[in-house]
Symmetry: C3
Amino acid sequence: MMTTREIAHLVNGRLHGDADRTLSDVAPLDECGPQEIAYVASEKQLPALRKVQPGAVLAHGDLLPQLPDPAQTPVITVDDPQAAFIEVMLRFRPLPQRATIGVSPNATVSPTAKFGPDCNVHPGAYVGDRVVLGARCEVGPGAVIGDGVILADDVTIHANVVLYHDVHVGPRTTIHAAAVIGADGFGYRLVDGRFLHIPHTGTVVIEEDVEIGAGTTIDRAMIGKTVIGAGTKLDNQVMIAHNCVLGKHNVFASQVGLAGSVTTGDYVQCGGQVGVADHAQIGAGAALGGKAGVSGVVPGGQRYAGQPARPEKDAVKSYIAMTKLPEMRIQLKTLASQVEKLQSQIDQLTRFPESRAA
Amino acid sequence: MMTTREIAHLVNGRLHGDADRTLSDVAPLDECGPQEIAYVASEKQLPALRKVQPGAVLAHGDLLPQLPDPAQTPVITVDDPQAAFIEVMLRFRPLPQRATIGVSPNATVSPTAKFGPDCNVHPGAYVGDRVVLGARCEVGPGAVIGDGVILADDVTIHANVVLYHDVHVGPRTTIHAAAVIGADGFGYRLVDGRFLHIPHTGTVVIEEDVEIGAGTTIDRAMIGKTVIGAGTKLDNQVMIAHNCVLGKHNVFASQVGLAGSVTTGDYVQCGGQVGVADHAQIGAGAALGGKAGVSGVVPGGQRYAGQPARPEKDAVKSYIAMTKLPEMRIQLKTLASQVEKLQSQIDQLTRFPESRAA
Amino acid sequence: MMTTREIAHLVNGRLHGDADRTLSDVAPLDECGPQEIAYVASEKQLPALRKVQPGAVLAHGDLLPQLPDPAQTPVITVDDPQAAFIEVMLRFRPLPQRATIGVSPNATVSPTAKFGPDCNVHPGAYVGDRVVLGARCEVGPGAVIGDGVILADDVTIHANVVLYHDVHVGPRTTIHAAAVIGADGFGYRLVDGRFLHIPHTGTVVIEEDVEIGAGTTIDRAMIGKTVIGAGTKLDNQVMIAHNCVLGKHNVFASQVGLAGSVTTGDYVQCGGQVGVADHAQIGAGAALGGKAGVSGVVPGGQRYAGQPARPEKDAVKSYIAMTKLPEMRIQLKTLASQVEKLQSQIDQLTRFPESRAA
């Protein structure tokens, strides 16, 4: 339980209305009841707000005139309501404390593995030879850490993740369940009608502060390194092929796929299901819309859409024109018959001037 | 072994031809031999039927005149040949009986977990603190059931599935291997050039009679619930992002991806690789064709196709027009030069009337 | 360490320049230093070569005149530089020898399972009843081999793979981490408003020399077999639905999805994120470009692109025309107004001949 006064104090906000209203939780705006506090992110949510009776509302000060009467529903205004809301949420719902369970006797751990302080290895996990873990690493149930893997400090490996041998993971990186890092790249040579696998003796390097979604796969390089740059976030079911080198602070939504040897600059964003052909070079700050298909050199700093992708503005124009296509076909036919008629009229005029009205 | 008479009796069908033909199994139509019974779903399969010599055929009565002579190949006619065929198949190939193995000593089970009657927890599985399982639940080898998860009666969790903490699973629901339910939603705030993860304190609720395919991922909500409605079926490698709320009896084919906060009505269908943008609202009974890309408000009760998706009929028209595009470009050029010629002819006429044939 | 002389001898190549240069490793061209050897695959890489100072270079003899002076940088020329480079790489970086660990006491193995010689079953793996393993099989940590599965000789099952019951895997086949083979097909009957699951009593047969990527899913057939033909290579996160029958030596890139009952001939290639509708028949040697959407009968021996897919040549033409669409719309408007003007000029001429310049 917190009062509106306590919440306003917590988030360093300005309180409008009852300071002693008690609240027991946060809630999504459309489910918010009189015991709960909601937040209004923008004007767009005002209609949804009118349908519920929240105990209190967090919002930006600019929205105050459009909110319900604070005498009925207390309002706390702040400059960054999302940040404030997260702070309140974590007060009502503290994140679970990390227990230090140590290395479970039900895990399989090589005697040559080395552990920093306060690591947890959960039951059913597997830690191979010469693995090195930094401080406070978490290896979830059923996770498999291959021989020679190096985890820096504060790495979290969720349940059933598989890291193949010799993968490097930077500090404060989180890898969600069932992700697979370091499988062989998909490279073959066609010899006498058979595809021969090209051995992949490279590895994968994941830098610091990276987050990798559930079921995502990142393949190892043939000789060098597949690299995921610092601060990059990959959603679930993303595919990063061998020898890709991603810049820093990239954000890829779910089901994005990069073929081999793609490079990206910093702050590249991909919407869901984007596909990138092998050896594409995507410039810093490029933003690829959902389902875009990309190849070649993609200059940074602008938005792209479509398959094959083009600058968003052009893609939108072509799309609009495409919806007009059936109509254009009719116009074209009409024009053709008009022109034919004109031609015959002119032929008439040219050949038989007397036919003209006089 | 069953005779045609026994089969006809089993499916309550009408037997044409030899009642004493003995059969040992069902078979796909194109591989069916004299010891086996096939079923013919529709006229389209008649050419395939002519290439084989099945021991007997199950079909709808309407097809009888088009089938081979029942004196040679006995025919059993029924109103619903697919249902009848499944019945016969399950007689020849009974599904494996569920053994009650109890909680394997090779599983890791928290002392605070509670089990209904006749649950199986297979070797290598992990069951966390405060987990509650209903009656007859199955937890496959290597499956990880996070703290506080609740499974209702008759839930089947296949091998290597991961349920993060506090996920709820309704009765008679099946989750196939390597699916991951309840990982953190993919939500970030960009602060000082870095993406900060938004804590996700919500959960996932899977209602009754749901089926979830292998490798499918469903993320937990930020504060509320990600919901999979009763009777909904998700194929393999489907992605459902945080805060999505799916209606009842949805059917999503493989590799469909929903971004955050999407809602669907009942009986929504998605073909393979459909992508849905965040906050889209898909009406009841909408059917999205394979690879469609959807955003915004999508009225129910009709079919959509394309990227961006449009009513199927319009999308098909535009597609056909698009295949004519190169031809249209040529027509356009031809017309332009015709018009130019006409213009010069008219200019001639207007300026030099004597040039006309007289 | 190897000298250029030793390397030239190893790959049966021709040495140009210093025979006693010592090298310690291979390296990617753009990271290659004076201790390392690079290979130049084609003229396209010459600019990259100019930026680095490799210890030596492997290349095709035809490139020799364009390479740096061999007096500075020794060059070894061969007919197949990629093959030679792999040979050198494996000398510098020998693949890890397969240890024979036998059946780990931390694995769960049914007493009815049968093992050929020199099999490894790693800790945390599960081997069900009546499983049969050939010689030299590898079952990775956390892998689950369902009842009745048959593995031929030299099969490698990586960590956390799940094989459902009765799946067959041919010799020399490799299945990467977290792949799932043999889950139920996605088939339902709509009865009284509910989708009833169709039991799948068929299986999956994977032939010899197949490679299956991480997170790939292959569903079992309803009654017959889902088949992956010999020599076929599937990348990560590929989806093969029930009753598909793939030919030999198919190569599918990542995130390809095949719906039910698709058949392919030999040497079919799919780029990333290709989608194939149910019952499609793809002819031998067909090559589907990335993101293509395919249905129906697809003649072999040619390239396809687009959604819906068409012969690549036509798809490219339509794509180019599509980028011209906005321009075409303008041309169409211009033409229409020109035609209108022409018409009025002609009307003028026809009605008022005196208006002509005389």
